[in-house]
């Protein structure tokens, strides 16, 4: 397993991964200081002159990206949207990694009926259409961030679990695992103390892809009207723009920026995972 120093040396030689981490850092700063960076309250309806709602304003010095049909500041919405995107992305990825690793470790190490049941369940989950399932679940329960994160985790764990499982299958035949077994370690101790740290980097790789998936899913669900209506998110901004004729009015300033932010954040996950893939599997690197 690579140490911290090796990771750093590696990152410097991997411009892709470094760019990805840079994008993440930028968005994290935006999310933390959203209140300071935003020029207006993203929910506030703004007025221009006497009782006239400031709708569809073009970009200007006061409104960097103009205003929406409802008279809200687009730039401020964009900055605040970073928070919900990061929250959804990171929590969903965390759940996917934890659930996927747990299932993969148990299936791979214990084998037998545990393995068969877990693999069968993962087959069923892979037979569920992704977005339609999320729409149906959102309609069944209260639409909101928690529902969304939970359903993303429920749908994405099999991919991680399968990769971890095959890794564990080869690890458990190694000498040091055998040694741990002979000295009387319990299976649970072997799984979580000895094997888990070995597969952690692999799980993290799948986690960085899941961040992007979760953000895209949140955007799609919000766009279709199944998001949390009270939240400020890039998906909801796009839905708002689409529903209020931003396209026919050619209000590019309204619907281009949220999409660009989504692309940047999802791309960052791809770049980081591509870089770390080379770190984990040097043979794959071309």
């Amino acid at each position: 397993m690579p140490g911290a120093k090796a990771v750093w040396r590696f990152l410097r030689s991997q411009p892709f991964a470094l760019v990805g981490i840079g994008i993440y850092a930028l968005f994290i700063v935006l999310a933390i200081f959203a209140d300071q960076i935003a020029t207006h309250d993203p929910r506030q309806i703004l007025f221009s002159g006497a009782y006239r709602v400031a709708r569809y304003l073009p970009p200007s010095a006061t409104h960097y990206l103009g205003t929406t049909a409802g008279g809200r500041d687009i730039f401020s919405q964009l900055v605040h949207g970073t928070r919900s995107a990061l929250t959804v992305g990171v929590t969903a990825a965390f759940c996917v990694v934890v659930l996927g690793s747990l299932m993969g470790l148990l299936a791979g190490y214990l084998g037998g009926w545990v393995d068969r049941i877990i693999m069968r369940v993962s087959d069923i989950v892979l037979g569920l259409p992704f977005l339609p399932f999320i729409l149906v679940i959102s309609a069944l329960t209260r639409p909101g961030t928690t529902t969304l994160v939970a359903s993303v985790a429920l749908l994405l764990w099999p991919n991680t679990a399968r990769v971890i499982r095959s890794q564990v299958l080869s690890l458990r035949e190694r000498g040091w695992v055998e040694a741990a077994r002979v000295t009387g370690c319990s299976p649970m101790r072997i799984i979580f103390v000895h094997i888990a740290p070995q597969v952690a980097p692999l799980a993290a790789l799948y986690g960085s892809i899941a961040v992007g998936w979760a953000i895209l899913t949140e955007a799609s669900a919000s766009f279709l009207g199944f998001g949390d209506p009270a939240a400020i998110s890039w998906g909801l901004m796009l839905q708002d723009a689409f529903a209020n004729q931003a396209l026919s009015r050619e209000a590019w300033n309204w619907f281009i920026p949220p999409g660009l932010c989504i692309v940047a954040l999802v791309l960052a996950g791809f770049l980081v995972s591509r870089g770390s893939e080379k770190l984990l599997f040097p043979k794959l690197g071309d």
Binding site: A139, L224, F242, V266
Partner: protein, 325 residues
């Protein structure tokens, strides 16, 4: 043969499990399904009669058995809102979704395979430095956002393509086939198919490039080179054939998954397909219709997953040899 049967059995098991899960999910729907269907003036008896006609008055296990039975017969029930058989509504929407998905996939994979093979040879060039990030960006972009850009640009700003629907309002055709092959339909199809293709092309491109690079280092290619075969012959006859294997599998998987993933693109372009049926059914609490659309989309996904597996075994000699042993 045994392998095929085994895979069929497996697919049947997954379908049964998905159908059962769907049953459980839809019975957990909040609220009273008949409320959307009835006006306030209906009496208690009429309400009960309706519940009976939808089979909602029976105990759950009995409903479950009836549900599985009618699924097997292809009977998906009657839509609450449209008061038509669910199957008819789905079959009306199906050709539009199939046309959209297949067109987009074929365009995306034709482009991706050629561009990917080309990029494998252009290693380290400026073209590669631009093409790879560009492919990654299209994969990172939300499909509906790509659609919105194309719509605002080519439809609203330049007025080249229609902005919504699959046919000009009020147009009539002698048959479904005549409608699907009419110039009007293809005109309406262009933008949604282009959007979907733009989103899909990144995967075959990157896959083709990666496997080509791998294959080009294999011993048999070195051998072919030593035999003095031309570069073109090496690419077409030896490398591309082997590199196509994962791409073909991805195509089958892509067909299954974009069937359900079309939901957003169909919404952006008001394309009257399965995805839109599902969205409006879920929004309108039309449970039989939503349930039917979900099951149909899942069935396509499970079938295509199976096809991908079989295709992989069939195309890759190494896998099938391993199975025979």
């Amino acid at each position: 043969m045994k392998r095929v049967l085994g895979r069929l059995g497996h697919a049947a098991f997954v379908l049964w499990a998905v159908a059962s899960l769907t049953f459980i999910m839809f019975r957990l729907m909040p609220g009273d399904p008949t409320l959307n269907f009835l006006s306030e003036s209906f009496s208690e008896e009429m309400r009960a009669a309706l519940l009976t006609s939808f089979g909602l008055d029976k105990p759950l296990p009995e409903q479950y058995v009836l549900y599985l039975g009618s699924l097997l017969r292809g009977d998906l029930g009657v839509s609450f809102l449209q008061k038509k058989p669910v199957l008819d509504i789905l079959l009306d929407a199906l050709p539009n979704t199939v046309a959209l998905t297949v067109t987009a996939l074929v365009v995306a994979y034709a482009f991706g395979i050629i561009a990917g093979a080309f990029l494998a040879f252009a290693r380290g060039s400026v073209t590669e430095g631009i093409a790879i990030p560009a492919a990654l960006i299209t994969r990172a972009a939300p499909e509906f956002w790509l659609g919105m850009i194309l719509l605002a640009w080519l439809s609203f700003a330049w007025g080249i393509f229609p902005s919504s629907g699959a046919n000009e309002a009020g147009s009539e055709f002698t048959s479904e086939w005549a409608r699907l092959t009419s110039a009007d339909f293809l005109w309406h199809l262009t933008l949604p198919a282009l959007t979907l293709a733009l989103y899909l092309q990144g995967l075959p491109l990157l896959l083709m490039r990666a496997t080509m690079l791998e294959v080009l280092n294999d011993e048999f290619i070195v051998m072919a080179r030593m035999k003095g075969l031309s570069r073109w012959a090496i690419v077409m006859r030896h490398a591309a054939r082997n590199a196509l294997l994962p791409v073909a599998t991805a195509f089958a998987l892509g067909l299954g998954s974009s069937f359900g993933g079309n939901v957003v693109i169909e919404t952006v372009f008001s394309w009257p397909g399965l995805g839109r049926v599902l969205v409006s059914a879920v929004q309108g609490a039309d449970y039989p219709l939503a349930q039917g659309a979900f099951i149909l989309i899942a069935a396509v996904l499970v079938t295509m997953n199976m096809v991908a597996d079989l295709l992989y075994a069939w195309l890759d000699p190494r896998v099938s040899v391993g199975a025979r042993r």
